[in-house]
């Protein structure tokens, strides 16, 4: 680059400032009728400027421009290309930059999509997005500038935390952030509706695609994070009720409730206030999720995100944005009528019960996550709230939800007729009983909750398949059936991998073996290995069953060079939709090696179920596009060629 021109990094920094200016215009536009016309151009400029800023940062990472402090502290010339790129958001500043980038793109979507609710409504929605963007841009520019420069530039970077050099984690933050931002858009549309007082089926139709999108991405983001923690952290689990996991789960629970209540609003013009409240809760919890992960307030396995110095700024941002959200709701909600009332045995009646159970789950996760911190601030006593608490409190509610989920799609809207229902539920009922009996008699499962888990999975799975095979399948119903089937599959995976798991934690010399759950495991060799930026000790474990070889596992204890860090790479092999999972521990100094070995039946079902849930959301979204496209084609009768997609796909 010529010395007369500013570097790309400086241009990126400038773009960030200009985006903040555009966000200010977006926030101000709805205040005066004369300014309303500025909202769309400002949102478009805002989105494009953020794309430019992000592109400049990606360029700095790709060419290893170590004059940018962020690149120097988080990258290295020897890093594989993929991780140079994903390294952009594998750190505090970069991940916040990614957050505002996605917010900017969402703003582009709102600005460019069809808006049946009118331009004033659009300007108000963009105004809310502008306020949120301003908050985050202020945080980036004043408290964690990603474009900070180093002079002189160091010759080499410090490298990326090796735990993050992984495809599962590389795409976990972007996916999760699309989910968070989708909920921010739903919130912005809710605020606009509160200001307009136009809360009804039309608003629900315009908002539902955003909620569906957010829900699908949150589901995938959480599943990716869980999958990563499972195979990369080498602890054998897939969910620990860690504060950071809970931080992502809470918006998901709110989004799940919102997705169902917005259907009621769309179809029956009921639950208006409740739906708006959920949209605001989803936003608040998205903010809280970002805050928990980014502030370092709660220490957890995500300790690499810890940065207490910025905590205060983020806390003020969180309080400011949620305070504003709740204020708007408190001031305007009394002016919105709640809408129609309804019968208990109707579809909407069951959707209300779904919502209440979701809120109960949310309350449990919320208090369980924040209580230790609150208690320590109050009387200084440190407690741990972990899996024993969360499993005991949430699993019964999840089983109850699964039972109702199997039922609800078969009920009619408005007035519930229960005739024919018992005939339809006969097969799921038999399946549930058979599943529990088989688990008890054949698999030797004795825990009550585990038996209920098997029964619930069978009940919901069969009922969802029935729904899928029923005549007159629509996009929305197919989406519902697929997503519910996904929940059943996840419940089955979680139940089976927990109740049927077998593990052994042993210490043995090379040449020795042990036996667990019918498998014979032999430690054949421990040898050094070397990779591009690590060295490792690798164990070779031969696994056999009934005298025949099944697989060879090669768990490693790795030492990375830049930055220096020790990690464990689990040796994992798939076995009948489950896993054989081994971790190599330390030598004890007398020639024995510590091996932790698990058999985890059906554990893959957990993530396959999440994929099905997201697929269900995609099918439902496809239906929305199709219906709107058809409506448009019918209106503009001789439409040449296929109508463009009227709603943003991203």
């Amino acid at each position: 680059m010529s010395p007369l021109l500013p570097s790309l990094a400086e241009l990126g920094h400038l773009a960030l400032w200009m985006a903040a200016g555009a966000a200010l215009v977006m926030a101000a536009a709805p205040l005066r009728p004369a300014l309303v016309g500025l909202a769309r151009p400002a949102a478009i400029a805002h989105g494009l400027l953020l794309i430019a800023a992000f592109a400049a940062m990606s360029h700095a990472f790709l060419v290893s421009d170590f004059s940018v402090s962020l690149v120097a502290t988080n990258s290295h010339t020897a890093k594989p290309l993929l991780y140079k790129l994903t390294g952009v958001w594998a750190n505090h500043e970069g991940s916040m930059l990614l957050w505002v980038l996605i917010l900017g793109v969402a703003g582009l979507g709102v600005a460019l999509s069809r808006m049946p609710l009118g331009e004033t409504f659009r300007a108000r929605a963009l105004g809310s997005l502008g306020i949120v963007a301003l908050g985050f841009l202020a945080f980036l520019l004043f408290a964690s500038n990603p474009f900070e420069r180093l002079d002189p530039a160091p010759p080499e970077g410090l490298g990326l935390n090796p735990l993050l050099q992984d495809p599962g984690l590389a795409f976990h933050p972007p996916t999760l952030y699309v989910g968070y931002v989708g909920l921010v858009v739903a919130f912005a549309l809710a605020v606009a509706a509160l200001l307009d007082g136009k809360v009804g089926p039309a608003w629900a139709r315009a908002t539902r695609p955003w909620v569906t999108l957010a829900w699908a991405f949150l589901t995938m983001g959480i599943a990716l994070g869980s999958w990563w923690a499972y195979y990369e952290l080498g602890w054998g689990g897939w969910w620990f009720w860690d504060p950071v996991e809970n931080a992502a789960l809470m918006p998901w629970l709110a989004a799940t409730a919102l997705l169902h209540s917005i259907r009621v609003l769309e179809t029956r013009d009921a639950l208006r206030n409740w739906t708006l409240m959920l949209a605001i809760a989803g936003f608040t919890l998205s903010m809280l999720g970002t805050f928990i992960v980014r502030s370092g307030l709660l220490t957890s396995v995500h300790a690499f995100a810890v940065d207490p110095t910025r905590g205060l700024f983020l806390l003020l941002l969180l309080l400011g944005l949620t305070g504003w959200a709740l204020l708007v709701w408190a001031l305007r909600a009394p002016k919105v009528a709640e809408g129609a009332r309804f019968a208990m045995t109707s579809r909407e009646g069951f959707l209300v019960v779904n919502n209440l159970l979701m809120m109960a789950l949310l309350a449990i996760v919320f208090i369980g996550t924040l209580y230790p911190m609150a208690l320590e601030a109050w009387n200084g006593r440190q407690i741990s709230v972990g899996p024993p608490y969360f499993n005991a409190t949430t699993v019964p509610l999840i089983v109850l939800l699964a039972v109702l989920m199997g039922l609800a799609p078969f009920l009619a809207w408005k007035r519930g007729t229960t005739t024919g229902l018992s005939r339809r539920l006969l097969i799921p009922g038999i399946a549930a009983t058979a599943a529990a009996a088989a688990a008890l008699a054949l698999l030797g499962v004795s825990g009550l909750l585990a038996l209920l888990g098997f029964a619930a999975a069978a009940w919901l799975g069969i009922a969802s398949l029935q729904l899928l095979l029923r005549r007159g399948l629509t996009f929305v119903r197919a989406g519902t059936a697929l997503a519910h089937l996904g929940v059943a599959v996840t419940i089955l995976g979680a139940t089976a991998s927990g109740a049927l798991q077998r593990e052994a934690l042993v210490s043995l010399p090379v040449g020795d073996g042990f036996e667990v759950a019918g498998f014979t495991v032999t430690l054949e060799e421990v040898a050094p290995r070397a990779g591009p930026n690590w060295t490792a000790l690798e164990a070779t474990l031969a696994v056999g069953r009934n005298g025949a070889p099944v697989t060879t596992l090669r768990p490693q204890a790795r030492t990375y060079t830049s930055p220096p860090m020790e990690t464990t790479e689990a040796g994992i092999a798939m076995w009948r939709a489950g896993d054989l999972y081994a971790v190599l521990g330390k030598p004890d100094g007398s020639g024995r090696w510590q091996i932790h070995f698990w058999v985890k039946p059906l554990i893959h079902f957990i993530w396959w179920g999440a994929l099905l849930m997201a697929a269900g959301a995609a099918v439902a979204l496809g239906g929305t596009f199709r219906v709107t496209a058809l409506a448009r084609r019918r209106r503009t009768a001789p439409a040449p060629g296929p109508a463009p997609l009227p709603l943003p796909a991203e």
Binding site: R341, V353, Y371, I383, P388, Y389
Partner: protein, 137 residues
């Protein structure tokens, strides 16, 4: 004699035991039990269940059953030794809490100052039912 890190951790753990409790005394900890399962499968299952609920104090949010850290291994040895000596798991847990604080157990205590924590699940359902009643009328 050079001490391995593991032996050192066990020694430190033992040194941390309250000195006054000498007369009956807890059973001697066999360091090998940090990595060797108990021979009796019932006792091993009991020990495993407890180890899955105890925090590895030198790790980030991991149980002693999941961690490879020396401290986790020393605590596993202690848990298995005492379960093998016939002690009920809850008394082992109580003793570890007395030593390291409530922090060590992932099962939060039931005390006046954790009342809200345990009440919320029930409360959420009651409030939900009241809201639902209003809607269905």
């Amino acid at each position: 004699m050079a001490m391995s890190a593991r032996q050192l951790a066990v020694a430190l753990l033992l040194a941390a035991a309250p000195a006054g409790a000498s007369p009956p005394g807890p059973p001697a900890v066999d360091p090998a039990l940090g990595t060797t399962p108990l021979a009796d499968p019932v006792q091993e299952a009991r020990a495993m269940a407890l180890m899955h609920e105890l925090r590895c104090l030198t790790c980030q949010n991991q149980t002693i059953a999941d961690s490879n850290a020396d401290q986790a291994e020393a605590m596993r040895a202690l848990v298995r030794s005492r379960i093998a000596a016939g002690e009920p798991p809850e008394s082992v847990r109580a003793d570890l809490i007395a030593r390291y604080g409530d922090w060590v157990s992932f099962r939060p205590p039931a005390r006046p100052d954790t009342l809200a924590l345990w009440a919320v699940p029930a409360l959420a359902l009651v409030v939900g039912a009241l809201v639902a009643r209003r809607l269905f009328r």
